[in-house]
């Protein structure tokens, strides 16, 4: 029988560190198969580590898929609430309508203004023309009078 296996070697064996040493691995396996003392020690270690792992690694995964599905649903709801956008289309339509009405009103105002200015300007121009005509007629009448007076005189 080969020499007994100590705890350090058993831990190396358990963790897989001996996988790279086939001869040592074989020796340990053979020894464990033939030595009650070492096998008991190995079984004790196995129980201890298994207990520790199960105590710390106890997971509530009975309904893992369900828990994840519930979370996905909650996230989707949340996302839909967050993504609920303000009524941009309505706001844009309102703005466009307001601008259109404003532009229309402005144009109307300008049209009205130009209409109110143009007649007076036209009238003024017409008045000036009449005045000029009248003054021209007066001039010719005056010239006639002067010529008549000269011919009489």
């Amino acid at each position: 029988m080969t020499k007994h296996i100590d705890t350090h070697q058993l831990l190396e064996y358990r963790s897989g560190l001996l996988d790279e040493s086939p001869s040592e691995l074989t020796r340990i396996k053979r020894h464990l198969a033939s030595c009650d003392k070492c096998r008991t020690h190995w079984q004790t270690l196995d129980t201890q580590f298994t207990q520790a792992a199960h105590s710390a690694g106890e997971l509530d995964e009975q309904s893992l898929s369900q828990q994840l599905a519930e979370r996905r649903l909650a996230a989707l709801k949340n996302e839909s609430i967050n993504n609920r956008k303000p009524p941009y289309a309505s706001i844009a339509a309102g703005l466009i309508a307001t601008v259109a009405v404003g532009v229309f009103a402005l144009q109307q105002f300008q049209n009205t203004s130009s209409e109110s200015i143009t007649p007076s300007a036209t009238q003024a121009a017409e008045k000036t023309e009449i005045e000029e005509l009248v003054s021209s007629v007066d001039f010719f009448l005056w010239m006639d009078e002067v010529e008549q007076q000269e011919s009489e005189g």
Partner: protein
């Protein structure tokens, strides 16, 4: 493995992702958040990638999300580290709890107190050691699977596992007085 859809892929990997996140963060709800967020990120950014890349991409996302949470926790906890250390279960706490446990070792039953003691010891392990220990011992993942989950080489996984076993023996020396 060929998947009919990405949903089928998620069903296939969600448990592994959860185990990794749960052991890495030691928090059930955070682990669920990580898995869910990773699935969302995968859907948004990588769903159109070839199927053979999904596994590596998905677990890379999961690892990044776990690391993000850890980083946040570390920066948050650095302020209150002293107070936490004073209240945390130390090796001394474990030793102090042992007399009552040692009074009835023949029961062979992992009672609540023993379970808590073992739990505390595992939680005192370094992050990587704890992850490897729980994935290998509690979930019985192979070295290859553990490597894939943690993005480590087989040699590193074995080293972390060995150190975890050694450290647990040290922390639980009073409870496991078999030598």
């Amino acid at each position: 493995m060929a998947y009919l859809s990405i949903e089928q892929f998620f069903i296939d990997v969600e448990k592994k992702a959860f185990h990794f996140a749960r052991f890495a963060l030691n928090h059930h709800e955070q682990a669920l958040d990580v898995v869910q967020d990773s699935m969302e990120a995968m859907l948004r950014h990588y769903a159109d990638k070839p199927q053979q890349e999904w596994h590596a991409l998905f677990f890379s996302i999961v690892r990044n999300k776990v690391n993000d949470i850890r980083r946040k926790q570390k920066s948050r906890s650095s302020v209150s580290l002293v107070s936490e250390l004073s209240t945390a279960d130390t090796k001394q706490d474990i030793i102090e709890k042992t007399p009552s446990l040692l009074q009835s070792p023949e029961q062979g039953i992992v009672n609540a107190e023993l379970s808590s003691t073992l739990n505390n010891a595992v939680n005192q392990l370094a992050e990587r050691q704890r992850e490897v220990f729980l994935l290998r011992e509690a979930m019985q993942y192979s070295i290859k699977e553990t490597c894939e989950l943690l993005d480590l080489t087989p040699g590193t996984v074995k080293q972390h596992h060995f150190r975890a076993l050694k450290q647990l023996r040290k922390l639980l020396a009073e409870v496991w007085s078999d030598d």
